[in-house]
Subunit: 144 residues, 2 copies
DNA sequence: TTTCATTTACGAAAACTATCGTACATTTGT
DNA sequence: ACAAATGTACGATAGTTTTCGTAAATGAAA
């Protein structure tokens, strides 16, 4: 009995070995989001979700996902005719990298400046705010 | 006596009238950052700062700034030979837009998820943390 | 087995970004 | 007044991203 095998492309392996960082484009991010939420999926499954919010053909999504596999953003199981793709990068890792870059290039390196903006313009629930405050307390403790 | 007149390009006016949103590229953001900090400047002034951290010729910076003016990202005073450019978009506005998009596309719409990430990965000073806590208190008060 | 539907693969066009060389215009110094 | 310096304008090119048409492969159905 065989288990499904997700493979990385050669290019992907080389890149991860050299510790390169992830820089998905806008469209790539849309695909990653679908895969992060739904888990491993076919091109068609991903496409059907993207279709709801954007206007592009099936082959466009396919091509994008193929390229992403080349780049190492996606793994795929090609053992059956219909390939199954999965994200090869963690959501958290990607989030952190993009966030770091944004703090750097948009907020002059000040994370708290970003935080204030983020909190000011988005209604956060009471629970979320509490969570953040607790977190702040922890950080302060550690600093002592 | 004349005062300096900064002009928007026609394209810029049309775009701002239709309420389009700002989406500067990486390079454009670098230029905006310089102008936000230094205020209205010549191409040369901007270029000399960019030169320190990146490797591109003068005409490259010039072209970029011309394009940005076309797009409405920059205003310019062309009354003297040496044009003087200024940002046509506020830093705060731009920050908020880019941040909103990031929350949307990268953090599934959860601002506080982003906040936790931001605080976790960047050492913030005690004062900054205090500021954030005060801010949180204010928000909570308003919610009651 | 032949046909039909689905899927992948390939290539190429269109749009956008970044870069720079060169030409032209305008000051400025001599 | 005129040459040198400085600046802008104008392509042109290379790279990347997004898009899609068409062909080839594969599996299912009749």
């Amino acid at each position: 009995m065989f288990t499904k095998v997700f493979v990385y492309s050669l290019k992907a392996l080389i890149m991860s070995a050299t510790g390169k960082h992830i820089k998905p484009t806008e469209s790539e991010l849309e695909i990653l989001r679908v895969l992060w939420e739904k888990g491993p999926s076919t091109v068609r499954e991903v496409h059907e979700i993207l279709e709801q919010s954007k206007d592009a053909g099936y082959t466009t999504t396919l091509k994008l996902m193929q390229i992403m596999h080349e780049k190492g953003l996606l793994q795929r199981d090609a053992s059956s005719k219909t390939h199954i793709y999965a994200s090869a990068v963690s959501q958290e890792n990607t989030q952190r990298q993009l966030l770091d870059k944004m703090i750097d290039t948009v907020f002059n390196g000040s994370a708290s400046q970003l935080v204030l903006q983020a909190l000011g313009n988005h209604k956060s629930s009471k629970e979320e705010l509490e969570k953040i405050k607790q977190y702040l307390d922890e950080i302060e403790k550690q600093q002592r």
